[in-house]
């Protein structure tokens, strides 16, 4: 559990007596039931603790119908960590075998095959991007890019080349453990975190650049908390690295792109690591016109729908949340919705494919940067 007992009690106390974040809670806005709001969850967790309510499948459904995108914590004046509270409760349910069946199946499959998705090295080689085994910099790709967004992985590789920085990838890259952590399978997260750390340390890399925002959060702290020892290797998200490359002149932009764009801040980058500046600096460097911000942006940006691994339990709600985000981009007048995380790309593109906001293009900032510099 990542909240101390005191923090957990204080968070339950705060949430069960408060409705001030209802308007920031996308799940509540989609489901439109009191029980699915942070207040409802707080009250329900309290009642289960007190023995006033059985921890039945209704409780499990409510706790797994949550985004955990940390917007609630950000919105809250007291910054109570509702999201970590929910993850902790999921872990309790999971350990008792009370997680919803599809969640248990998903976690089991991931535990059994943590190296899912395509091989990063193969993807890059097929695209003519060379990787150098034993290079000082390791690019951690993440499952979303390897499986669903290989073009973003290739674009990342081309940026390294353009910056003349040799890099390696893990030949058998395991999952970061983010999904298991979010879904409350802490045992699984522990096993994966150890395996991941061993693979990274064993690669001989001296630093890690991460393409995936969720994996970035894991590697920046949770991997260690789950027992994976990275031996103090420095970790950087690719957008921060790329912004540095632009600033130092390592990367140059010959011709700016003429796109009407807006930027979706991934929850991890904006709220956990407060890096609002790097993506905007990159966009400013590569676009001929300023981006238009959406109604919510930065640390208060709404979720793309992928938060909390919601799609495992309620893909319908996840898609509606994604559609709401697309609608914000459309209202901002953007032709391209730029994101900073392949998981966001996949979720938002899924919503576009379902018919929401036709004509709106979803692009990873790494793709656009590669288009501008390579």
């Amino acid at each position: 559990m990542f909240l101390t007992e005191k923090e957990r009690e204080e968070t339950i106390w705060a949430c069960r007596f408060c409705m001030m974040c209802h308007v920031a809670d996308r799940v509540g806005q989609v489901v439109r039931r009191e029980s699915y709001t942070p207040r409802g969850r707080g009250a329900i967790i309290y009642a289960v603790d007190k023995g006033l309510l059985p921890a039945d499948e209704g409780v499990a459904d409510i706790l797994y119908t949550s985004l955990n995108d940390r917007l609630i914590r950000e919105w809250c004046v007291g910054h109570y960590d509702h999201e970590e509270l929910v993850i902790g409760e999921r872990a309790r349910l999971f350990s008792r075998g009370q997680a919803p069946a599809e969640v248990a199946r998903f976690c089991e499959a991931l535990r059994n095959n943590p190296v899912r998705g395509q091989n990063a090295e193969t993807i890059l080689k097929q695209a003519g991007v060379n990787v150098r085994a034993g290079a000082e910099v390791l690019l951690f790709c993440g499952h979303s890019a390897r499986e669903f967004r290989p073009e973003t992985l290739v674009a990342a590789g081309r940026l390294f080349h353009a910056a003349k920085i040799p890099f390696s990838v893990l030949p058998e890259e395991p999952t970061s453990g983010w999904a298991l952590y979010q879904l409350g399978d802490f045992e699984g997260a522990r096993a994966v975190s150890r395996r991941l750390a061993e693979a990274i340390v064993g690669s001989g890399a001296r630093s890690i650049v991460v393409l995936d925002a969720d994996a970035y959060r894991m590697l920046m702290g949770r991997t260690g908390r789950f027992g994976g020892d990275l031996k103090g290797l420095p970790v950087q998200h690719i957008l921060r690295a790329a912004a540095d490359w632009l600033r130092s002149g390592t990367l140059r932009v010959p011709v700016k792109l003429d796109y009407e764009a807006t930027y979706h801040d991934p929850c991890v980058l904006a709220r956990d690591f407060e890096d609002l500046e790097s993506p905007r600096f990159i966009l400013q460097s590569i676009l001929s016109r300023p981006i238009t911000e959406m109604a919510t942006s930065g640390k208060l940006a709404n979720c793309c729908g992928a938060g909390g691994m919601l799609a495992v339990h309620r893909p319908d709600i996840s898609e509606k949340v994604a559609c709401m985000r697309l609608e914000e981009a459309r209202e901002a007048g953007a032709a391209i919705l730029v994101t900073g995380c392949p998981r966001c790309d996949v979720t938002l593109e899924g919503a576009v494919a379902s018919g929401a906001c036709p004509g709106l293009r979803v692009a990873n900032l790494v793709d656009l940067l590669a288009e501008a510099v390579c």
Partner: protein, 480 residues
């Protein structure tokens, strides 16, 4: 409901009306709807006691569905409790007798924004802040900024006669509502006249405004809008005592200025709340005054306000504390700043004319602080909703260590409320300005209305003869 079989029968009939996905009887969901923000159920829960949950929760999507639910409830003679954001503090949506909770949040569409007449028509389940953001995009504002804005619904605004932080200029919800569609207890769908100003007999609209779901379910609301002001300015003043501040506010209002807000905190409030939340340390009575509109008018009005305040020795604290208050006006209501258990507290607000308000303030302060000295009761107040004829005192009692025994706690709570309320009534005040009645204050309504209570009960009996609509609230006799 008496038997599981009957509950199953009724649940299936409800599913036939609204669809399978829009009905739930799950324990966790019923639990979440067994309370609102009223302290007493929370004390009960805090002490490990069970609350009465609703039997079933229904999420209608149209007035026609609401109508059919009412007809079903009438046939089975079971309670119907319309539910908006659940942000009330008076127990207004607590299902005292079980029954059907009608959660209106799926009826949340904006139906029309009339930019000629400056009105918006919407379904009642729309979130207040979402509605405000939507009209803001048209350069308009509802100008209703209650502390519950992030969670409350439009239906709740009008059903509880809510008030916002700028009510002094823009009025309360009752002043903003122009027309409503209401489903009566028997399922009949009616609409009030298109506009509220007429000479076609007594107004029907005011009967339902503030009715808290006891006379019907609101299914559509038309509200007045205002243009977004060109500028909105605030300034803060510090008075030696609250009486000078009250006089300053009275002069502003009776000279017919139109400040958008006047918030005057007594010394206790200034010390506890203002210091804790806004970080401002001061001794005396703190006042924030605001004005909005076109720049020229605002400049002139702020000048007149300044003259009045300084005439009464108000120290000009400048605009920054005032602007800071506006920016952080809702912070007071977030934990850990908000009042909540383990403290026992209550907002015993009273509205009265200017000649009576200071007397009420003094008398209630005495009643609370001296009458409940053994409990270490404290009293604090601010004056935040001003009218041409008077003002509301938003006063609270606070006991930091209430009894652990729930019955003893309830007894103390009731005693304080009884004494505070009767002090207000004895001094010519009206018990409540904008929180509503629910079951927290229902028991005091016959006393407040006197002989006129029979008229109020008559409305209820005529409109809801079976007594299915939100029983136990507003002080109406239970007929079920």
């Amino acid at each position: 409901m008496s038997t599981p079989l009957l509950l199953d029968i009724i649940t299936n009939e409800l599913m036939d009306i609204v669809g399978f996905d829009d009905v739930t009887t799950r324990a966790a969901e019923r639990f979440a709807y067994s309370m609102d923000y009223y302290l007493v159920p929370q004390i009960w829960l805090d002490r490990g006691r069970h609350l009465q949950p609703p039997d079933v929760i229904v999420y209608p999507e149209s007035a026609a569905e609401v109508s059919r639910v009412h007809k079903l409830a009438s046939r089975h003679r079971i309670p119907v409790i319309p539910y908006g954001g659940g942000t009330g503090t008076q127990g207004g949506v607590v299902p005292l007798y079980g029954g059907i909770i009608l959660d209106m949040k799926k009826m949340d569409r904006i139906l029309a924004i009339d930019t000629d007449s400056l009105t918006v028509t919407a379904q009642p389940g729309i979130n207040g802040q979402v509605l405000e953001w939507a009209v803001n995009k048209k350069g308009l504002t509802l100008a209703h900024y209650p502390a519950s804005e992030y969670g409350a619904t439009l239906g709740g605004y009008v059903a509880a006669r809510g008030s916002g932080t700028l009510s002094t200029k823009y009025g309360k919800a009752e002043d903003m509502v122009l027309r409503m569609e209401v489903v009566l207890a028997d399922g009949e769908i009616i609409r009030t006249l298109p506009v509220p100003s007429h000479a076609c007999g007594p107004g029907l609209l005011p009967v339902f405004v503030g009715s808290e779901g006891t006379l019907g379910t609101i299914t559509e609301v038309t509200m007045r809008l205002d243009p977004m002001p060109e500028v909105r300015r605030f300034n803060a003043y510090l008075f030696e005592d609250v009486r000078q501040g009250l006089e300053a506010g009275r002069r502003m209002m009776t000279r017919r200025l139109h400040p958008c807000t006047i918030r005057l905190y007594d010394a206790s409030s200034s010390e506890r709340i203002v210091k804790r939340v806004l970080g401002l340390e001061m001794k005396g009575a703190y006042m924030v005054v605001g004005s909005d509109g076109d720049a020229e008018s605002v400049a002139l009005e702020m000048k007149q306000i300044h003259r009045i305040c300084t005439e009464l020795n108000g120290k000009d604290l400048g605009s920054e504390p005032g602007e800071h208050w506006w920016k952080h006006r809702y912070d007071f209501y977030f934990p850990p700043h908000s009042l909540m258990l383990p403290e026992m507290f209550g907002t015993i607000e009273t509205t009265a004319t200017y000649d009576k308000i200071f007397g009420i303030f003094q008398a209630k302060k005495r009643v609370i602080e001296e009458g409940f000295k053994d409990w270490g009761a404290s009293y604090m107040a601010h004056f935040s909703h001003w009218f041409p004829w008077g003002v509301m005192v938003y006063d609270r009692f606070l006991i930091t260590k209430p009894p652990q025994d729930p019955q003893e706690a309830l007894q103390l709570h009731t005693e304080i409320w009884g004494k505070a309320a009767r002090t207000s009534l004895d001094h010519g005040g009206v018990l409540n300005d904008h929180h509503g009645i629910g079951f927290k204050l229902g028991w005091l309504m016959p006393e407040q209305y006197g002989r006129a209570w029979a008229v109020m009960q008559g409305f209820k009996d005529q409109l809801d003869p079976l007594g299915i609509m939100n029983p136990g609230k507003l002080g109406f006799a239970r007929r079920l």
